[in-house]
Symmetry: C3
Subunit: 306 residues, 3 copies
């Protein structure tokens, strides 16, 4: 039960056996989270640095909790209050941190490719917590875990990712991971939000949300990232909601067996109504809980790899 990968940069190219091992190991940690004592001594004496160059609440806290529950020592580093303003290069910052003998680095960065770059300059295990529009592999892994938990499998399922596919690292990681596990992935959204070459990945494109709902088993509803200028791709939020918003009416009319995922944070009334976000079809808070278990699994498997 040892991974072939040394780092988790993305799900592109990760073998299905590795994904299977991560999901299965997460199941064990998911049970630990229900215990009164949610802590195991597995990574005692290991040091993990959380390098968050982009603001984040849930992902940072989720990783930090996972690290502490594995008994690792954690150091948090954010862009503010750092030496980057002293003119030090990013490479020198990383080589310095690595020289302090850290075992793993969890990194979030606004630029795609930064985690990959780190694997070349550091001996530590690198875990990508989101890099630009590239990948966000632990999010996709927790999505897969949550789907498998509810539907018992991934193979053969039809999963549609809804929203701003072009600017989404979550979409890309979902596509790579789910396809590897034998699911069929499609996307749905305004054409301005869908990359032109996505069909070459074997991904079907929907522009009709009703059809997307009726023909799929799972919807993964992305948030419209107001803070990343999604506004330039759509006329108004209201119009987006009218055409692509997930409403109870649309679900009940097209597919009452659908399972709804959302990576959060939710824009209520934009990509999803409050009725759906709090309703019976969704498993949004399960995803959050499972996220801690998935991160414990990844940290454990990479941190104890021989």
């Amino acid at each position: 039960m040892s991974l072939t990968i040394k780092h988790l940069i993305g799900l592109h190219g990760v073998p299905s056996d590795d994904i299977q091992t991560i999901l299965d190991t997460a199941k064990t940690f998911r049970e630990v989270l229900e215990r009164p004592i949610k802590k195991v001594p597995t990574l005692q004496g290991k040091t993990i640095v959380n390098l968050f160059y982009e603001d984040s609440t849930r992902t940072r806290i989720s990783f930090e909790l996972a690290e502490k529950r594995l008994s690792a020592d954690t150091i948090n580093f954010s862009k503010s209050g750092s030496s980057t303003k002293k003119g030090e290069t990013f490479k020198d910052t990383i080589r310095n941190i690595e020289a302090m003998k850290v075992d793993m680095i969890v990194v979030r960065h606004e630029s795609a490719g930064v985690p990959q770059f780190l694997t070349r300059i550091s001996k530590a295990s690198i875990i990508n917590a989101g890099d630009g529009r590239h990948e966000h592999p632990t999010q996709a892994l927790l999505d897969m875990y949550s789907i498998r938990e509810r539907l018992g499998k991934l193979k053969g399922l039809k999963i549609c990712v809804i929203g701003d596919i072009a600017h989404s690292r979550v979409a890309l990681s979902n596509i790579f991971g789910l396809q590897t596990m034998g699911a069929q992935v499609s996307v749905c959204g305004p054409l301005t939000m869908i990359p032109q070459n996505i069909e070459s990945l074997g991904v079907k494109i929907y522009t009709d949300i009703s059809k997307a709902i009726s023909e799929n088993d799972v919807l993964n509803v992305l948030r419209i990232q107001l803070e990343r200028k999604a506004g330039t791709s759509i006329p108004t939020l209201r119009e987006y909601h009218n055409y692509f918003g997930i409403t109870a009416e649309r679900i009940e009319k097209n597919n009452k067996d659908i399972l709804i995922l959302h990576p959060g944070p939710i824009n209520r009334g934009v990509e999803i109504t409050s009725e759906v976000a709090d309703g019976p079809y969704q498993i949004i808070l399960d995803q959050v809980t499972n996220g801690v278990a998935i991160r414990m699994s990844v940290l454990y498997l990479l941190g104890t790899r021989q």
Copy 2:
């Protein structure tokens, strides 16, 4: 020795047995703080999130030390660098944090009522570290502990809270807690700083500081909160000091047996002179030490409640 309360939102309505249990348990932890090894394994494997939406040094550090000395895992969350700016509702932020399986949430917020609201949306134990003008229960508990330590009792004592009562959560928590324990609470300050209906709580009003000093056993001197526009309630800080400042002269003339408390941070020369703040009547730094013991007690009792 188990509490009837599940959360600590305020001292209003908390039974005297619970307060007694918290104070007695704090005494044990106060002794732990004098040991070379100030740590007990009581909350090992429990996770506590410190949600500070308002800046704070001493209260945050005091809670964090209490948590670490109980061997809990702690996660700090402050408003800056969070997802609130991504348009997520406060309720969704909290439900997400809770879904990560945290056991307790310590919350400070500028709006009264937020901790109470949290008890409705989260399964975690909620501890109020100060909410708007409402309550700051651990401050009042440490005040009570410090008074009892010096004077041997609370019942029958006369305690006057001095300053901006109208804007003070410390004053309100003191009134509720001390009255429950059988003390007589009064207030003293300019009438612009005293809420009109306070007498309905059985609280006597002084406008003459000399009389307040001579007729009470304890003064709890609030800080004039310059950063919260106290200035609109008083003409000048000098005038406030002239009428209500606690000076050595006033103490020696009116009551040499008085005990002086102050929740900090001190405005030297405004509500209290340096001579008094560093002098023999006050127990200001004892309050700080006792604050860690009180918070250990509250966290322990709520965290191990069946």
Copy 3:
């Protein structure tokens, strides 16, 4: 193996036996850093507060890692989000922190003398992590450790500190520490960057970098601190580089046995070329690793002192 000093404020006046003990103990911790489990239980139950009033990445992380690897509980305090803006005096802030029963305080401050001041108002052990232009003793200790590791000794070595000596706390700590250990210290830089009275400390002045390279065993190359207005002492960075920059050409021409140190962060192409900073003469990343070991040593020796 117990130190005579209770605090580490600077290396001025610290006896050679104490420095020897710190360096020898660091060697043990340096070995711990190569183990899979880099943690020892030595300071379990001790509380260390990191008071960083000046931004810092590497020094803060280095101390925090050292503390966690000694199993101490750590509290971080930075200027932002603190009560200093509430008008509290620095002295009151410190006395409050101390009243919470902390064992050690690591302090960085822009004003020289602050750590010394803390020793007078606190019972905790104080460790200076850099105060204004005064001292940065753990930096000098890690420099000495790194030199001794490579050259087998300190006694009799010739070491030249290059750069803005007048504004450098690193230079001063190097001079005091190295001289105590029997090394000969010189400085080299533009005369506008060299304090007039430095010769009275027994320190030779070079203004010719080639001569400094050829006559010394070790160069400690300071960074030109752009953020501290070094610009007022030199015409341009290019001119500084032309006259004092450490280049491969200068080394190869004058002294191929030289050892190059740099405290970081590096300004590549200003005080040192990338070729030298990444080349065979330098031990810059060794210094970073040794820094964690030195800080573990200092914290351990002061934290377990009877």
